[in-house]
Subunit: 563 residues, 2 copies
């Protein structure tokens, strides 16, 4: 009975025996699980190099290290792809000490692209609240030599959400439901109102820079929006001519609140600052690292994979986005090691300038695949390009546009792959469903037509090219690691990175060998005149509301001054 | 129908109308909820004074502030109660910067009772692992000018437990079950084995101090046992002649691990340290703050309430134990404000030296209520007194021993009262059950015969006097605030402190007016000869085992040196 059963099984599975796909999956798994280099790669980026702020010397080092590493694995056409970024910046150390009314060391990290202090400085701390030019007048002549806090302290909420999360079956099922009202989270249908308010903020930012410089403010303190001692950092404008004039730190919410309460109690805190930071203007380019496994066909089509190599400067950029880089590199390393010759070229791109607005990937897409007209009016030109990039019409495609198949990006921490977002491309769904098949013991393979935003696949999607991100387990990425001072390799899950590397290698294999290139969504078009009119009305409405609020606030202040 | 029902109700509740107890509860609630000063008190201790390390100038300030505040509320017999503590210590600032192989500011806080650096120093960082004198030999002549890390880095676990917790009904029910095997968590039946291993550690500590000084180590780094950027601090020995000879910091686990991995990769990290810390030897006493609402009876009995006023030095000691102090003070303030004249005296005691071993409360109990013979042998004398305090026999009582009714302590964060631990005193259970009655809308009033340890009620319990702690909601006390650098008032729940203050005031009212003093457990006796023999055998067994392990380790090292 058993023997007969076996025979039947052998006969019926003879097709599978000859399945070169499954044979390749076996090889990928063996290489990815038992000869993995993914953690070693990540260690070099994090412990070895450390933070990789775009334009910084450390980022350049990371570019070179990744380039050489990819070459050493046999990848071809490897080069550093420069693009104009702005001023470089780096810092070595920073300290802030409260020296009155009591003495205690506070914990702060510099805001990127703000100057150093050139030795220790000290000053009285005052609260500064301004969100429009009208708000500045009250501070005229009052800030010289002061260290200003950007707003009051705020209450800290009890941390009731769990810190560490993996998707359960119910959540994955929920994720599959398409929400018509929600729409894509990013362009090409980007909200013009968002652009308008960014424009307001940009012009106020310029006024603020001038004001703070003129008033001789000596330091600026921002409150980390996270609590529990976590410092969540950010940067100010990195573009030449727009950089912030005053040394600035983000400090722990608890320390910020403490200063704020000291001020509330009628005392004046005095602090010392010592920030060793500087701009690097010798090279205003940033660089993407590019390399490929060339396709075997003549004039081959292109499959791309990548993630941003740049990070913020507060820690080592391990989960944001050393993890994505290490996995993308590991996926091409696995394929290169297997001496696999794809039909299509498999090109890896490790982007720079992502954290400041997807600059590396959008410039790359612009230069290689499709371009959109730059804005013509002064206002729009002044804005960072990600705020108008998706707005120019029409999209003009380049020859390689038709050669492009698909781009896979990884940039959501170190959590394992649980499925993939199709970005509304329903034609991709059955393909991904098939590709996830051999990985059913590794991943739920959930496929949702929803979009996920905020990273480099958008640069492709914005011009109608298929660009995707996987659904990843959240772990503690959003809750405490993203952009914080503890984004070190300590919080990376090795098993998850191996799983992601193997699935990604499998997807690259499939994409590079498939009979046809990845199907596409319709190419983005401008919004309709009706939608434009509606948006314009909304913009006007919110401008009027802002003015009303400002006038009301002024009237109240005037009354309070009298009483 | 309705009317008849009402009449019956009125008749049957006529007793309650005349109930002076409930009348008092009403007054306590009104004062405690609507005229609360508990947050104001806490603000003065935390934002105003800051950390209150025993023996530090800030602790002295807190003693004086609490004394004056209690006097201002009308409390009598108020004084600062000195006891011999050891060396005072304080620090103003501390910084640590990695300067090679890359530059980054690390986050560290000094270990209490370690010297400052007298300006910036720098040194190569090496790993040091020693838990016995035999381990020291390998480092001889190798540590001069070095900054040593106390052991390797360790893997960081995913933070899967929830950060913020309140008891649910199931957990409270579970808490009521008495576990016979568990026994009390603290003395008088304290484990002699613990004392023996403490003795080993103490003698090794002395050797280590001498060794590090002689070898001219310039700095010591400890790893915070917490992760996620939280620095969990501690102190080394504060006793004259025993203090640590080298400047020492606790640094973030992530930073510690990073240094450890740099060393693993074959590089030598170089760091700078700048620690502004010093000893205060002008006054080697610490002080408890004592005050009371005198009892109206002649030679009145005593009801006590309190918590430790001292804190660690990494933050403001808000939940450990500003909260307990503020609630104890608020409870007596409420009663004092109501011009309530208790039969028994209500005495508040705000202890010092709790964090180093309940020194303030145990000395107070010793001097006022009951004493035990000091150890006679040299070894035991060398140990901190909390390790022998509960071991001397027989307990000799003083006259006030019979006058004492009960002590209520608060020292488990700012979470609301959910019930009380009887410490195995089953006679107290029906009393507490009755006392919780009027608070049924504020608290579950769970009563468990289990014990809770680690704080000042133990000093009373150790000599057979009723000392209790309430069951409190955990909140984020244990998960991230206890002894960390974020123990600031930001994480205190105002509503919970008001609830606790009102219940505590209610309990003090009841305890001070009850017909009889609180029933007691049998006075502690020495353990039986049988138990002593067993313990001695265990001590010998573990000594033999330790020696075996050490010899084995030596043999392995010798083999490895040869190969």
């Amino acid at each position: 009975m058993k023997k007969i059963g076996l025979t039947i099984l052998c006969l019926s599975s003879s097709v599978a025996w000859a399945d070169s796909d499954l044979d390749m999956e076996n090889k990928i798994r063996a290489e990815g699980f038992y000869n993995s280099e993914v953690m070693h790669t990540l260690e070099q980026l994090t412990d070895g190099i450390g933070p990789r702020l775009s334009g910084s010397p450390q980022m350049k080092k990371a570019n070179e290290w990744t380039l050489n590493k990819l070459k050493s694995w046999g990848l071809k056409n490897a080069y550093l792809d420069p693009f104009e970024f702005g001023r470089g910046w780096s810092h070595d150390s920073a300290s802030i000490n409260l020296i009155s009314p009591r003495e205690v060391t506070l914990h702060g990290i510099p805001v990127a692209w703000t100057p150093g202090t050139k030795g220790e400085i000290s000053g009285d701390v005052v609260i500064f609240e301004a969100s429009s030019v009208a708000d500045l007048a009250q501070y005229k002549g009052k800030l010289q030599g002061k260290i200003i806090m950007m707003g009051d302290g705020k209450n800290i909420e009890a941390p009731e959400n769990s810190v560490f999360n993996r998707y359960d079956a119910t959540e994955l099922t929920k994720l599959k439901e398409f929400d018509v009202n929600k729409g894509p989270s990013h362009s090409p249908w980007v909200n013009a109102e968002r652009r308008d308010s960014a424009l307001q903020r940009f012009y106020f930012g310029k006024e603020l820079n001038e004001f703070l410089a003129k008033e001789k403010v000596v330091g600026v303190l921002y409150r980390s929006w996270r609590q529990g001692g976590l410092i969540n950092i950010f940067g100010r404008d990195h573009r030449v001519g727009n950089t912030f004039p005053v040394p600035a730190l983000v400090i722990e919410a608890e320390h910020y609140n403490s200063l704020s309460r000291i001020i509330d109690s009628g005392k004046t805190p005095k602090v010392t600052l010592d920030i060793d930071a500087r701009f690097h203007d010798e090279d205003r380019n940033a660089y993407n690292t590019i390399a490929e496994i060339p396709g075997s066909e003549s004039d081959p089509e292109i499959v791309m994979v990548g993630g941003h190599l740049d990070s913020w400067h507060a820690s080592d950029g391990a989960v944001d986005n050393g993890a994505g880089v290490a996995v993308a590199m590991e996926a091409v390393r696995i394929l290169a090691t297997l001496d696999f010759e794809p039909k299509r070229s498999i090109r890896i791109a490790l982007w720079s300038g992502e954290e400041q607005g997807l600059f590396g990937s959008s410039t790359y897409v612009d230069e290689h695949f499709a371009t959109r007209p730059s804005p013509t009016n002064k206002d729009e030109k002044a804005l960072p390009n990600y705020l108008w990039k998706s707005q120019g019409w029409p999209i003009e495609t380049k020859p390689a546009y038709d050669k492009f198949s698909v781009y896979f990006n990884m940039d959501n921490g170190s959590g394992r792959f649980r499925g993939i977002y199709t970005e509304g491309n329903v034609a991709a769904k059955p393909i991904f469903s098939k590709w996830f098949g051999p990985f059913s013991d590794l991943s739920a393979g959930t496929i949702t037509n929803a979009s996920t935003g905020g990273t480099d696949h958008e640069s492709f999607d914005d011009v109608g090219l298929p660009g995707f991100q996987f659904i990843q387990d959240e772990l503690d990425y959003g809750s405490r690691l993203h952009h914080t001072h503890i984004d070190s390799i300590d919080h990376v899950s090795e098993a998850d990175l191996k799983q992601a590397s193997v699935i990604l290698a499998g997807f690259l294999y499939k994409a590079s060998m498939a009979d046809e290139r990845m199907p596409r969504k319709p190419i983005p078009r401008d919004i309709s005149d009706l939608q434009k009119q509606k948006m314009q009305l909304n913009i006007e409405k919110s401008r009027v509301q802002r003015e009303k609020d400002a006038n009301k606030a002024k009237a109240i202040n005037a009354l309070m001054d009298k009483s």
